[in-house]
């Protein structure tokens, strides 16, 4: 995943930048309501459950399991040669919070496959959390 044509995320958005800042430290972060502890994912500036504008990024354990996946066989972009797999990973610590990841080829996965996050430099000052299969 070192291809320089790989599209990098906008990493300094007002609402999502904290995710990528944590990734630079090698940490996985989820936004929470500081008042009622509800996870706010995808991250936003307001907790509609309790009416609080006080939100904060918290580091969570970088482990999860596969919720679903698809093997991409038809190429759309040169940075992503086929076959590859897109998996949707649910974070162990925060049920219901999901992140997607790229996996090379057609790995042997199923719903529930354990995963662990790793942190890749996609360009200077931008780190992208992605997930790999966690060995038992």
């Amino acid at each position: 995943m070192t291809d320089i044509t790989l599209p990098a995320p906008v990493a300094d958005d007002h609402d999502t930048g904290g995710y990528f800042q944590a990734a630079q430290r090698g940490e996985l972060a989820v936004l929470f309501c500081a008042k009622c502890d509800a996870a706010l994912h995808l991250p936003g500036p307001y907790c509609s459950s309790c009416g609080s504008l006080d939100v904060e990024w918290r580091t969570v354990s970088p482990t999860g399991t596969i919720y679903t996946w698809t093997v991409v066989e038809h190429q759309l972009h040169p940075a992503f040669p086929v076959p590859y797999t897109v998996a949707l990973v649910e974070i162990d610590d925060v049920p219901g919070v999901r992140l997607v990841t790229h996996l090379d080829g057609r790995p042997d996965v199923e719903i529930g496959t354990p995963m662990v996050a790793v942190f890749d430099d996609v360009r200077e000052h931008t780190v992208l959390p992605r997930w790999v299969i966690r060995d038992a």
Binding site: P7, P9, H74, H77, V86, L128
Partner: protein, 392 residues
């Protein structure tokens, strides 16, 4: 309280261009042709039209279409979205404009060079840095999740795992739509038959979805004229009464390429479930009253989810329902009788509205005998819309 719009407006006219892979014309030219056809079909002239509803994904704007057509007045305009979720909501908006006295008769259109121009199925225009500004694409695109088809691959896989749905189930949906297209000379797939063997031999695009699970990106336009039920009686062709219409969604994010829909508590129940409940309540009808349905089909799995959400079978039984033969012309729920997005053309579901009117008129190339009640649905996973058309 009775739904205030019930039976008070109708679709008086329908129009469509040829559907092709390369129109060789501007979207303005396509929009004008479909609009003129719909206006004439309603027995009207441009002097009778004073409102326009467009879709947010169209590049053609209301004023430019009004100017090209030579409308003497433009007293109402509006837009609905997102994309394929819009068509029935566009009709509802037009009906509301008519009933509230803001316009006499309203033109509803979609005009696309969806194959030769910008191809929606090719997904996001990926640049060096992606996402931000409320799109949330930064969470998805850098991992190679790029297109609606890939997202529906994730949804289909999950449905298969939760309920035992099979590729054969998806195939029965593709084949039903193709069989209807084979009878429709204006369908893109008119001359191409599809068997179970053909389906299974189809190229895998985003496993478990094969090439035949994907709709036909299309150049073309559709238009309909919405007016009062009373005025619609004056036309030369039977009008389709709007029994009820609905827009309904989950109040969740749908920015960027719609991938935030993957964060919902479940992937196998869609906004069509809440749309169905409201629609049936407003109509005073239920799934057993539906004679024929035009079900939005950007992908086969999209249909399967809606068969469940609109109550034609229980949640999880969409696969076995599709495989039972129910969707064929002699089945309990004939669908997409012009071929749908899958085999007629992908005008993002306004072609479903046009075909719904044909069924009520009795003029479909795959006419369901004595069809009096037609369900038309629009796209998911975005906030969606739907309506029920009936005979006047």
């Amino acid at each position: 309280m009775t739904y205030p719009l019930r039976d008070r407006c109708a679709i008086a006219g329908i129009g469509a261009t040829e559907f092709s892979k390369k129109s060789g014309r501007s979207v303005l030219a396509l929009g004008v042709e479909a609009s003129l056809a719909a206006i004439a079909d309603a027995g009207m002239t441009v002097d009778d039209i004073d409102g326009i509803v467009r879709c947010d994904l169209d590049s053609l704007q209301h004023n430019d279409l009004a100017h090209a057509l030579g409308l003497p007045e433009l007293n109402y305009w509006g837009a609905a979205g997102v994309g394929g979720g819009a068509p029935c909501g566009m009709v509802a908006q037009a009906a509301a404009a008519v009933l509230s006295g803001q316009a006499k008769s309203v033109l509803v259109f979609r005009a696309l060079n969806g194959r030769s121009g910008q191809r929606y199925g090719h997904g996001a225009a990926v640049s060096a840095a992606v996402g931000g500004n409320g799109s949330y694409d930064e969470y998805f695109l850098p991992h190679g999740l790029l297109s609606p088809g890939q997202m529906y691959g994730l949804v289909a896989q999950r449905h298969m795992a939760e309920f035992g749905t099979t590729s054969e189930d998806f195939a029965h949906i593709a084949i039903a739509c193709r069989d209807r297209a084979n009878a429709n000379p204006n369908a893109q797939m008119h001359d191409k038959t599809l068997t179970m063997d053909d389906y299974m031999a189809g190229r895998m695009i985003s496993d478990p979805l094969r090439v035949f699970d994907f709709c036909q990106e299309t150049d073309g336009a559709c238009a309909v004229v919405v007016t009062t039920a009373e005025r619609a009686k004056d036309g030369p062709n039977p009008a389709a009464t709007i029994r009820a219409a609905v827009q309904s969604g989950m109040p969740d994010m749908q920015g960027g390429m719609l991938f935030p829909a993957l964060m919902r508590p479940t992937l196998t129940t869609q906004p069509s479930a809440s749309a169905a409940a409201k629609l049936y309540e407003r109509a005073g009808l239920g799934p057993s009253d539906i004679d024929v349905a035009q079900i939005y089909d950007c992908f086969t799995i999209t249909v399967l989810l809606q068969l469940e959400d609109y109550g034609f079978c229980a949640k999880g039984e969409g696969g076995s329902f599709a495989s039972s033969g129910a969707l064929q012309l002699d089945g309990s729920l004939p669908i997409n009788t012009a071929g749908g997005n899958l085999s007629e053309g992908y005008i993002h579901g306004l072609n479903h509205v046009v075909e719904g009117v044909r069924q009520i008129r009795g003029t479909s190339t795959s006419q369901v005998p004595d069809a009096e009640v037609c369900l038309v649905t629009s796209g998911i996973p975005v906030s969606t819309s739907a309506m029920i058309l009936t005979k006047a």
